[in-house]
């Protein structure tokens, strides 16, 4: 069974601080996604990374896919209260014709004003 471990599980920081969330596995994925889930809502896709070593930026959020496509990181610069939420990584196994995403354990971020 492929697993995705996220760290840290919880993070409480002050507005303006930087942070990094990690998503690690011993398995290779053909692509990796990051979702954010706000209270009372379903997860919403932030980004998909496909190529080993790929870096994508979304305003203050920087996503990186590991060279070996086994891990990923999400870095937030100058966090704001609006970044508060549950961050989930999700990997697509390198199997033909599968839509079964493997979700990480989640990182709950709280940004205080």
């Amino acid at each position: 069974t492929q697993l995705l471990e996220q760290s840290p599980q919880f993070l409480s920081i002050q507005e303006g601080e930087n942070l990094t969330v990690y998503c690690n596995s011993s398995s290779v994925f053909s692509s990796l996604q990051w979702y954010r889930q706000e209270p009372g809502e379903g997860p919403v896709l932030l980004v998909t990374v496909v190529t080993g070593g790929e870096v994508k930026k979304l305003k203050r959020l920087t996503f990186q896919f590991g060279d070996a496509r086994k891990d990923s990181s999400l870095h937030i610069t100058a966090a704001q209260p609006g970044d508060t939420g549950l961050y989930l990584c999700a990997g697509l196994p390198p199997l033909y014709n599968t839509d079964k995403l493997i979700f990480g354990t989640g990182t709950r971020l709280q940004v205080f004003p």
Binding site: Q9, P43, V44, L45, D99
Partner: protein, 114 residues
């Protein structure tokens, strides 16, 4: 915008009751999914469907069944609810030809089984 709706935001049922959770998507997506979400465990796939009347087991199908009679609707059924099925249930849909593999989620149903 893709819209995925779930029939209830909150549901309280008693042990042994039959429970139906309904999910409807309005974007003609072929693939639909049911997950449960528990703290520290992320999202775990219960069942998914890639076409009308087609279903496949996910990672934790025990105690659940599903029905997909129409393309836009995917139902999750708990034949005899148990307390360990207390959880947040999330439905998602995806276009089969979407290379980005984006799944669109509903707002979730928080089920409590007493």
């Amino acid at each position: 915008d893709v819209k995925v709706t779930q029939s209830s935001r909150y549901l309280v049922k008693r042990t042994g009751e039959k429970v139906f959770l309904e999910c409807v998507q309005d974007m003609d997506h072929e693939n639909m999914f049911w997950y449960r979400q528990d703290p520290g465990l992320g999202l775990r796939l219960i069942y998914f469907s890639y076409d009308v009347k087609m279903k496949e087991k996910g990672d934790i199908p025990e105690g659940y069944s599903v029905s997909r009679e129409k393309k836009e609707r995917f139902s999750l059924i708990l034949e005899s609810a148990s307390t360990n099925q207390t959880s947040m249930y999330l439905c998602a849909s995806k276009r089969d030809s979407d290379d980005t593999d984006t799944q669109y989620f509903g707002p979730g149903t928080r089920l409590t089984v007493l």
